[in-house]
Amino acid sequence: MQTVLAFVVGGLYAASLYMMLRRSITKLIIGLALLGHAANLLILTAGRLVPGQPPLIPSTSEATRLEPPYADPLPQALILTAIVIGFGVQAFALVLIRRTYETVGTDDLDEMRSTDRA
């Protein structure tokens, strides 16, 4: 399954990079969103896949520690952070391009090469 997911990750990266290379500013945002997804899945897969063994210590048992096998909690913690941050960035970017579109009057990145007012 890791192999399959490696190709899924590659596909997501390719899709996001392609979208980020577009001139339309809306497509750039979609590309950014896809990039976040690709990175998260990359971290999950690189941390090894352990199906159906969440890193939870059962409350019924007398266990004082997490017994293997368990899914690695560390990549999960990283991804959880990344998902939330990614959302924040996306929301900001979304509002920013809306504002840019209203202010500059274009959605073509090629026409936004200069910081000077036209």
Binding site: M1, V4, I57, L66, I83, I85, L96
Partner: protein, 766 residues
Amino acid sequence: MPESLLFGFALAAFSPLIHRFARGATGWVMGALVAGLTVRFALYVPAITAGNPVRTCWAWVPPLGVNVSFYLDGLSLLFALLICGIGSLVAIYAGGSLRGHPQLGRFYLYLLAFMTSMLGVVLADNLLTLYVFWELTSLTSYLLIGFNHEDSRARQAALQALLVTVAGGLAMLAGFVLLGLAGGSFEISVLSGRGPALREHATYLPLLALILAGAFTKSAQFPFHFWLPNAMVAPTPVSAYLHSSTMVKAGVYLLARLSPVLADTAAWTAALSTVGAVTMVIGATLALLHTDLKRILAYTTISVLGGLTLLLGLGTSSAVVAAMALLVAHALYKAALFLVAGNVDHATGIRDVRQASGLARVMPITAAAAVLAAMSNAGVPASFGFISKELIYEAIWGLSARGLPLLAATFLANALLVTTAILVGVRPFFGRRTAMPHMPHETPIALWLGPLVLALGGLVLGLVPARTEPMLAAAATAVEGQPAHPHLALWPGFNVVLALSAVTVLGGIGLYLAWERVRRVVPLATITRFGADRGYDLTLEAMLRFGTLQTRVLQSGYLRFYLIIIILTVVSLAGWALLKGEGVVKLLAGRWPSIYEWIIAGLVPLAALLAILSQSRLTAVIALGTVGYGLALLYLLYGAPDLAMTQFAIETLTVVLFVLVVYRLPPLVRFANWPSRVRDAMVALAGGALMTGLLLAATARPGASSLSPFYAEHSLSDAYGRNVVNVILVDFRALDTLGEITVLTVAAIGVHALLRLLPGRKGPRL
């Protein structure tokens, strides 16, 4: 001894303040203080000549063997005495020659900072300490050459000197690092004992070449000599101090200092004696073709620096002693001659040697200093210059047949130096007086004291040469690594060497008589056009052109081109490493995925593809949401319920947000034509392929996280939480989460501000 460096830097820092109070007397105050430093070093003489070096050391970066350490032996002490002694005279001189200059306080700041840095160079024991001080001298030299910064020539010359010496310095740093690695220590005093092993070391040649690059640029050896004559735009005290008697000798000092470590190999001897001999002859020849007093002196300085390099390259006992004697003699007479040239300029406004004549009657003291210094320069008996020249001839005569070309070169250079000595030290003061820009007058005491003391010093040492023996012996011992016993005599008796000396002087006088004719025959302009200076200009120009070209190519201003460059760079570098390290990545056999895994894994890329291809904003948003939900399902499958829940929640929020603004977003337009779409698709696919390859390579390795067991172990016992992921977030890595919350808050404020901020609307703006 380190306290003298602290004293020097403190004095430099306070010199503008001191100048504010001392006003016209600043030169004397500074001179006296620096003279005190000279005395401080002179007190070391008995201990050092008795063979007891002093070492001080503080750890700086202990794991790397980098220390701030100082070492005082005969060689360091000889240089330190010259630096401080001449420094105090130059400080006094500057007070007179720059009297009333609005930035005199700043000048002393630079000058004393230079002096202290130079002391640091000669006292440092650790190679990296030495490097720091070395670059400080380059920097202060830059500030001093460019002291008259309104003059564009001064700025150019300052930059040229800086670029040449710093480029060499960087090469030298690389050489030092290699030397430190090869020798297992950065302390020169330690390395000195490991010379034989180092000379056999595999990196000996590269490190030698790199270190020589530093020494040769600093000491203006051919073909890096050109910056030195250009540096003559600096005020005269600077030329006399930095660019004749001290800083330019830093390269020579380095060669001498590292002699026990690196010398006596074929490469060392060949490089140093060839470069030294060529520099010696070229410098002396070019000196003859110029008429500007200071430029003549600059070229003769280059010639002497070449001679010093040559002698150190020979490395025989007599050559090293001769080098030390030449060093002292040259420092004394050349500084004196520079100051004399400055006095002539000061009194008459003339710097061209052809225009000055008959000044002895109006400037008797300056003239006396000039003649004395010129005698030493020319090597007339009863001067220290004579003794040093005897020693040089002796050293080279001792080489027998293989020394013949060197003997010829030395003879030629020395004869030319005699000519220039007459040109600079004698000619302006005798003969008929001509019309001059100013009414000539004798200069005030601050201006004639320095040259007179220096020139008299040359005479006194020449009369009692035996008194210098212990100091020269101590210095030569440090260079050779074994005890040296020089013998200096006022009158060596009639022998071949004396005959050579006599012929040299006669030849020089002959050349002087023919000077005008020689100058007319040799086309200086042609030499300048093809000289090293021109090479420097061309190099600089080429670099600027390259920079322009590179900027034009790389900095297009188009976002996608920046992205393409970044992606392709990463793909080619990381891809190369991947192929080199892993070969063609093996596809993992692993467990065959179940049907629902296939469905989800297939759904995600398809949804991504739809997001790309869709021309409808709503469809694209829905496809994006599908990717997110697909990922959430994958998280659920692989034991990450927290991630799945978060992803579901966030994805829903994202879709809601998109839908809220989606019709205010610009519609999805195809701007690009199909060739650029194909190009972008190729680039994107390359990036995707790299990530797949990296991931396959990473998962192919047996890797168990070494951190996770810690969390598994301590989650319940230390943090009282059964959900390990949550415990990591809110307990073990709580500060990260705090940072994350801050980022979200900032983003929220940004969103709010962007929604509230309307262009053109009156009222408070956020």
